[in-house]
Symmetry: C2
Subunit: 480 residues, 2 copies
């Protein structure tokens, strides 16, 4: 038995004692990601990439439903493009990495931090008439933002993977409708696939995407009381369109600029999954994105080995025929206990134990990763039970996270209350004036920033930052 491995296998830090050390330990030990030799970059390992691939498999049909077409734009963007939309240039300049050695080019080339400019340039070539609208594209791509803040695996890395959707419309009404529709799709994605609840709303002026009229965001609340922005959808208005001379001939035979939105989610979602669901034993994979949903661990003794293994193989094919992804861990060089630890660390939702005594009773034991609850199940009923337990686990993970989010969201009526609640690691709803300067002042006093302005909540009282008229109720929290 490889004793040394066994000792180093487990998580040594408790989630609720030292969250900031617990998180990277889970990421690395559960083989979700690894540090890269390049500062701030990461290697996404198969266990985590599988989650991202499931996000792609879920979201590609959603894109199709909205008639958004996948395509691919160049990684490199000419420097001059950034300067065409002034706010955009200002927002992204500090984070851009440039290609250095290509002297034959007339201008510097940026490694894309986002693709509005180069896509607007293509739109200007493709768009002719109202008949071409709406024009909706998406790309799954890597982007680079040279963070100077502390980087964190999945949450803030200098390179990350994302999808970025870019759509143009004949009217602002259609454009804005889809800004909301894609945000709704994101909320459904994180709920249905990742078992994560969020709050949604509009970003404040200070936090609006560089170049947008308004931005929507969905925000999760991590177990350490920090908010995590998990997806955004922007109404870009006509600014980029006018800067890149994108026009169409309308039914009135006049030239018009279209209305533009963009929206994205990234591999940061994987970080949210880990933070939300993993525990002191390691990763907990939400069932619908788990690379393996069930692992069968046979309990082998010399005299019953053949029979037990055969029953395990039969169970494997049965589960697979019911579309449950399953792995039979028939390695003989590891003990069952060692295997239990390994699969718990990796977060496989269900462990199915089958030994000679179980077999004699025509049973196996299914153990749920999140609760540790052991359920004896008749062999004839394994696939039904596994399916039910996977669904229940998804539901329970979501409800647990939802209770946490709701239980840790409060309102504050004064700066004192806000400071208190932020210290208590809450997400706090406050009456707020919406002014960037006031937001900075609140940040200085509380270390919390605005997260989003939820829809349909009328402001009560005056802004607790400056005492002026409140224009909205706004969520504030510390953030990643």
């Amino acid at each position: 038995m490889p004793k040394k491995d066994e000792k180093s296998l487990g998580i040594t830090v408790k989630k609720h004692e030292n969250f900031l050390e617990w998180y990277p330990e889970v990421v690395v030990k559960a083989e979700l990601a690894d540090y890269s030799p390049i500062k701030g970059c990461m290697v996404i390992r198969p266990n985590a990439y599988a989650i991202w691939q499931k996000v792609q498999e879920y979201f590609n049909p959603v894109l199709k439903k909205h008639d958004v077409k996948n395509c691919y734009f160049p990684l490199f963007i000419p420097e001059s493009f950034f300067h065409k939309e002034a706010q955009h240039a200002e927002g992204f300049s500090p984070e851009v990495a440039w290609i250095g050695n290509k002297e034959d080019d007339e201008e510097r080339l940026a490694v894309r931090p986002t693709s509005e400019t180069i896509i607007a340039d293509s739109f200007s070539k493709w768009l002719r008439s109202w008949r071409d609208l709406p024009l909706k594209v998406n790309q799954w791509a890597n982007v680079v933002r040279w963070e100077t803040n502390q980087t964190r695996l999945f949450l803030r890395t200098r390179e990350f993977l994302w999808q970025e959707g870019h759509c143009i419309y004949a009217t602002e009404e259609d454009c804005v409708k889809d800004v909301h529709a894609f945000m709704d799709e994101y909320v459904a994605l994180v709920k249905e696939l990742l078992a994560i609840p969020v709050v949604t709303g509009m970003k404040t002026k200070k936090e609006t995407f560089a170049g947008a009229k308004f931005s929507l965001a969905m925000e999760g609340l991590m177990p350490d009381g920090r908010a995590l922005q998990m997806g955004t959808s922007h109404n870009l208005g006509q600014g980029f369109m006018k800067a890149f001379d994108v026009t169409f001939v309308g039914m009135d035979e006049q030239k018009h600029a279209p209305w533009y939105n963009s929206w994205g989610v990234s591999t940061r979602l994987v970080g949210a999954v880990i933070m939300t669901h993993a525990d002191d034993k390691g990763m907990v994979m939400p069932p619908r994105v788990a690379p393996i949903q069930a692992v069968i661990v046979p309990i082998l003794f010399e005299d019953s080995k053949e029979k037990v293994l055969q029953a395990c193989k039969q169970m494997q094919s049965e589960l697979e025929s019911h579309h449950i992804s399953v792995h039979l861990d028939d390695r003989t060089e590891y003990s069952p206990g060692w295997k239990f630890n390994e699969w718990e660390l990796k977060g496989i939702p269900l462990r199915i134990e089958l030994g000679p005594k179980d077999l004699a009773k025509g049973e196996c034991v299914i153990v749920r990763r999140d609760t540790g609850k052991k359920n004896p199940v008749k062999l004839t009923n394994v696939h039904d039970s596994a399916k039910t337990q996977l669904d229940e686990m998804h539901h329970d993970l979501y409800m647990k996270a939802k209770h946490f989010l709701e239980g840790n969201t409060v309102e504050a009526k004064s700066m004192d209350e806000l400071q208190h609640h932020i210290r208590e690691r809450k997400m706090v709803l406050i009456p707020f004036c919406g002014e960037p300067q006031c937001e900075e002042d609140i940040k200085k006093k509380t270390d919390a920033g605005s997260r989003c302005i939820p829809f349909g909540k009328k402001p009560k009282d005056t802004c607790i930052g400056c005492g002026k008229t409140a224009t909205s109720m706004t969520y504030f929290a510390k953030a990643y």
Copy 2:
């Protein structure tokens, strides 16, 4: 009617008269790709990206079958990594783009031209014991090679998309077995999905991947008589492993270096599809990768409009329920003739025409894009007929390309014959000594390079380049 569009819609150059002008015209007008503002880069438009996405959907299950796991490695590679494997550094240095503005880093960062070095670095952290082998990963990624030769859309661009598989094994035997197995999978992919035949074999010493013991390649023959390398699979031996200190403890409790292979196909495959199958009317999509397999064009008259459209919608759902992807072109602002041209240009495999006269007979007309043959089909039989015609079209496209490949592959017994055949745009099999210097001499005399050394063909006579002993029969051709 938009007359101006109509005029500029068609392809103005004949494939067999001016192939090199015909190709980019098809690419741009069929909306497969567009030139980028960055020299040598391209925008992959939805019509072509759909082909690449189909390649991914086909190949991901193949990877799973071979137990290869998807993951993602950083775009940036430290300069020092390139120098660890001397041949590799020499081979790739001229093509590398470097990040220029990040002074806080101790060394320059390369934008990956290929990922052997950074993956070997990760293997060195992950590999411990023989129990971890084989270790097989793959990534779908963008890579950058700063071509100084003329670039061509899809065939040679400074950035392209590919998959790169990287596997390590305990024995050279297992490693080499998979070098061949993955090449076999590529040959099946291009045959079954893209309807393209290839020849396969080993690369000559001169053309072997920088750092490999040997390289396999599959080579297609394009209609202008140039070969196109469409996929490679390399036995990298232990060179990278030793350079990056990748070791495992074997069953003998000793340290060993594993054996390493890598293999890839790229968006160049899309270029091969266009060159091979497109014609003077534009793109021809092989049915299994077509973004839309059938387009329904209703023939509308005022008095029968409703009935015809309803029949078309019914046909659409019926075809979709039989897993045929179908688009109903019910636009009223374009004439049927205009639509026919547009869908022919875009290469949709089947066009289904339905007008009031057809409807009265309970029929429609299915027109195959490649042959233009019109088939009247009973409405009750549409899905069966469409399915059959799609299968036949795939088969016919493949056979046509196969006849072309076979009919244009010849043997030469002397330099004169070789020169003659190359002028005649053939792929030519010759007895060859295998020496890089002789290969350069042949290139000077014929403008043709070696493509690959097919398996199982014994060399006849002496090398026609230098007169020394021939070590193999080798394919030579002009190439992209």
